[in-house]
Symmetry: C2
Subunit: 341 residues, 2 copies
């Protein structure tokens, strides 16, 4: 008899619940797309019903190890409360763990969404051959996670891994966090749109102008589409993304000397457009990377099923994109209760 | 019967050997000031004679746990070789560990100088109440070390902790490492002199001009003396030191969420001059620091014997200067063989 975990990925627009066994087999995934726009209590109710349904349905398949919940926000691990969340504003200071546990009458493990995504990549994706890795997740904002000795490094208050707020340009654009020139101001989907708008305002918009006037308005995807079609201004934006990532990664490589740094999140689908600039900056800016760089940067495009086997014996620094896509967090959340606590 | 360790601190100008017991009692310290300017083999010979003298002399006092050697350079921990060292240029690619072990006919533990200094501070100094800490050492260059779970975090090749080469200003002054705008270009003794010379060249030198024309030439100490006497241009230089440290520390605090960050090295004696700028930048640039800042920054001046008892229960981020001074590395090196390997 096998063991399985139930993972929950609570994002700003989607609520997904999955039963995944210890062999990483997805038993079933429930996506409650629209439910997350409902009231907070209704979302928790729907989540708990789905968890109970899966728990019951697969009880004959194996032993339920537990429930892991990844939440898009800053989590206070001791109190089990959401302390900050741009995407779940109504959830701040809400005792989400206690509410779930009250309904289910069992303990759940709460975790930040970037942390569960990193655990997913560590278990089955880019990081599976390594005990230590960092992950930078490029989405609406820029999140991050640190895995050391196979486990999430939470730091003293569970706030470690905020790579998105590393200063890239000390006097750069202001960030919601209070700093200026954060990585998030250059490498998030929001930043891509902002930089595109700046290009338009300054008369360098070109094809971006047309995209901005389309029905849907200007989105990072439209900038990507233009860049991939060869538009020089759109391509320049992605070079700026890569430059900022390279500057931030260079300092991380010098400080941590990890074997692998994984770039995930929605914006990482534009990897081919920004990765060359990452490697350019890294070679120049990181003595540790230069001393441990692979002969050829690993930047191939690969799906979750692709085998990734950089030899740990080579002791080279690997910078690569995530391989699990949007399911990383779901797999990581289900993995949580299977790990020794 | 107690246990004692022999610690060696091999720097560019001094070679120091000490016997220190498990209660942190200094049994004896031998300083071979001039010997380090001798030939490499003579230095190793003198080091080994001193180690054997101490080992024999204190064999009745306790059991010798082993020998730890801190070397000012980048150490390849697997081969026991010095891979890079601005201060010990003749030692590069020299099998220092093998040579010592050959003479002593026993194993020694080799470590980077910033790492042994951090271990010293962790054992007896600023970090003694914490299992996790980072140290930034401001000297001729800027070194660093990371202690996680009570042990040095070496990273994959023993190159972790290079905080001195974090990018502070992407297009700042060029650094020997190949990058531009490294922390080392703003916060080292070398940088203080460079910035002072720039002020002189641009006609803003004032009192610095006179210091530069003195017999000894311009040193960081002279800039410090002027700043402490109220010279505005010299004070501005130390504010720049603090700003750069604050920018680098803010990213570290966001990434690692450690309980304590310790600033050591010779330049840290100017703490009062640059610390206010560190805290100013941290408050602005680190969301994690802002959420976990102590009510009053800890910046008191204290000797090795001062009791430092910030409560771990408070879970506040502490940024403070080192307390052991130049003996930190010697204590840390002697501590190495007493730790479980």
């Amino acid at each position: 008899m096998t063991t399985f975990g139930i993972g929950v990925d609570l994002g700003g627009t989607n609520l997904r619940i999955a039963a995944i066994d210890e062999e990483a087999q997805l038993l079933e995934k429930i996506t409650l797309g629209s439910k997350a726009s409902r009231k907070r209590d209704d979302v928790i109710d729907a989540m708990c019903v789905a968890i109970q349904t899966l728990a019951k349905k697969y009880s004959r398949h194996g032993k339920l190890a537990g429930i892991g919940v990844g939440v898009a926000g800053i989590i206070d691990l001791r109190s089990g409360m959401v302390r900050g969340s741009p995407n779940l504003p109504g959830w701040i200071d809400y005792p989400v763990r206690a509410e779930i546990e009250h309904r289910l009458k069992t303990a759940v493990i709460l975790e930040n969404d970037a942390n569960v995504a990193a655990l997913g990549e560590k278990w089955l994706g880019a990081g599976r051959d390594y005990e230590d890795m960092a992950m930078i997740a490029l989405g609406t904002g820029v999140g991050g996670a640190l895995v050391l000795n196979g486990r999430i490094w939470h730091g003293m208050n569970g706030m470690a891994g905020e790579f998105g707020h590393a200063t890239v340009e000390p006097e750069g654009p202001p960030c919601k966090c209070g700093n200026r020139g954060c990585l998030e101001q250059y490498a998030s989907a929001t930043a891509i749109v902002r930089i595109a708008r700046e290009a338009i305002s300054s008369g360098r918009g070109g094809a971006l102008n047309k995209a901005a006037k389309s029905d849907g308005g200007l989105h990072a995807q439209a900038v990507y589409d233009l860049a991939i079609q060869g538009d020089p201004e759109a391509q320049k934006i992605f070079r700026q993304v890569g430059r900022a990532l390279g500057i931030a990664l260079a300092s991380m490589v010098n400080a941590l000397n990890l074997p692998i740094y994984v770039v995930g999140g929605g914006v990482s689908s534009a990897w081919e457009l920004f990765a060359p600039s990452i490697f350019e900056e890294l070679k120049r800016r990181s003595m540790v990377y230069a001393a441990t760089a692979p002969a050829r940067p690993m930047n191939r495009r690969s799906g979750a099923s692709a085998r990734v086997k950089p030899s740990p014996a080579a002791r080279k620094t690997i910078i690569m994109r995530a391989v699990l896509g949007s399911d990383a967090g779901l797999f990581g959340a289900a993995r949580l209760p299977m790990m020794p606590q």
